[in-house]
Symmetry: D2
Subunit: 177 residues, 4 copies
Amino acid sequence: MTTQMIILNGGSSAGKSGIVRCLQAVLPDPWLAFGVDSFVDALPAKMQASDAGIEIAADGRVSVGADFRALEEAWIEGVVAMARAGARVVIDEVFLGGAASQQRWQKALGDVDVLWVGVRCESSVAAGREVARGDRVHGMASLQADVVHEGVIYDLEVDTTHTESLACARTIAAHVS
Amino acid sequence: MTTQMIILNGGSSAGKSGIVRCLQAVLPDPWLAFGVDSFVDALPAKMQASDAGIEIAADGRVSVGADFRALEEAWIEGVVAMARAGARVVIDEVFLGGAASQQRWQKALGDVDVLWVGVRCESSVAAGREVARGDRVHGMASLQADVVHEGVIYDLEVDTTHTESLACARTIAAHVS
Amino acid sequence: MTTQMIILNGGSSAGKSGIVRCLQAVLPDPWLAFGVDSFVDALPAKMQASDAGIEIAADGRVSVGADFRALEEAWIEGVVAMARAGARVVIDEVFLGGAASQQRWQKALGDVDVLWVGVRCESSVAAGREVARGDRVHGMASLQADVVHEGVIYDLEVDTTHTESLACARTIAAHVS
Amino acid sequence: MTTQMIILNGGSSAGKSGIVRCLQAVLPDPWLAFGVDSFVDALPAKMQASDAGIEIAADGRVSVGADFRALEEAWIEGVVAMARAGARVVIDEVFLGGAASQQRWQKALGDVDVLWVGVRCESSVAAGREVARGDRVHGMASLQADVVHEGVIYDLEVDTTHTESLACARTIAAHVS
């Protein structure tokens, strides 16, 4: 059976996007990469700060509204359709709802073969990397570090606290069939 | 009948992405925006300069390989699936193959209701805007200005040579049902 | 006498940065480009939202604190020193304080030969371009369109309402000696 | 004596910019941050690929021409002038010429009080981080890892191979007077 999708889940500043780029470099086939950031970029600017869209509080807490949720569901279906159509797809996600977020994907995935990967990073280290990235909303890394993994089931977990992105990517790539 | 997708086609620096952002601002419903740029961003970095991926010559000429074409086909199917799943989607495209490019979309679209929009801009004006944007590969705007429209059939055309993005967006929005 | 600096002043979304890139393209000598945006990028992230730094209200109103002002003064002196050291420098500024802002530059400039350029754009057109750029803080373009020019004395004014960046740049370049 | 400038030197992907942002966060005073990247951004686009400007070969080797060198000298003088005018300034540099590059700064610095910091990273780790960043020109990290330190004299060295940016920044901050 061929792995059609890799779904990485982890908190902000856990190092997911670096792992994704390394996966795209080390995997022999070309993989498309999407994620919560590319989805948010696709939204109207006006949804960045409205009840129906996404809101990031001063402490880094993120809340999303009904329009966001409806568009996200359609986006998930579309990304899964790309995999069904033959593209291999790696996804960089932040499961703010933990197990409930994973279930939203599972509902759309059907029999698509997915490798589920948890990306962990010690909260204090992720918070430090958030400072190094210069993001203006501090606190997201700490707030999300654990909650995004609650109840989520993985095939594999990597931890970027003491392991480089490229090494994590190689570990993941070894599980791709 | 409800317009499910808007597909804008035009050459580099014709002003498509500005029109897309204005459409997202003026249309009452939230629309997702994707395009050739977001697709290229999803590709592995190594496909940016390889025979199987995309190559931009010093004069701005763009060529794509077999892997690019296969992934693009899957990406198109996925974007159309988002529309079928209820999201309204606006696409910003550059039909390097003219009518053949449009047919690739039509094959995937089936009975999805699309508004086809040609975005024109006089070649010399587009070339000037390319300089103003500071892109390093000059010449794309001129090369693409006419060729991308060859044989393509539109519901509507706008011309950014003397008309602002917002006004073009309002014209397009008036055709959305 | 050789023009050592060009200082462009205009409101947000008036088209200054496009003109700067065109000037760098059409002027035969290499010119360094700096401006209020590159200055703000050089500030600590924490000054983006503090009384001592810069604050952008929801309506686009910008206020700056004492630390900002002190660093800006040193930055101006440094940029003028580059011109004295032989680099030709083009500056992209937003004189929120009108004539008072110009005087801050004049104090540092001494006998450096400057071409002062006002960049105008009709408020409604600038507001439309702000939407097209997808900036999240709407209203800056309108608020700043006129106030930044109050009491400022120019060698030359250009208006981007109906004139392309490249044409404006050529007009300016013709005044560079 | 008060430290007026901090100059960090290290190869591409050694982690300098992350350290700079952490320094700006942990140092009690506001520090301005500039570096080779902000200087290159200030150059005309046409100097990105010309004999007089900067050229990056396919293997990551960087060469610069006479115009680049002249503008860089003026830029260095200007940045030093900012420090003389009272701003505290942190610089992120890549001394492609090793000791000769340091001397270019020393010539301009006079009696300005500088903390010289070497930023090291094992070549293989830096190369992996280059992949994680998705840079299209691979090889710069390896090529530059050692050569940029040849003959350069530091007050302090940090190594990002096994130490986070924030911890490196705290070590450096402890040496700032």
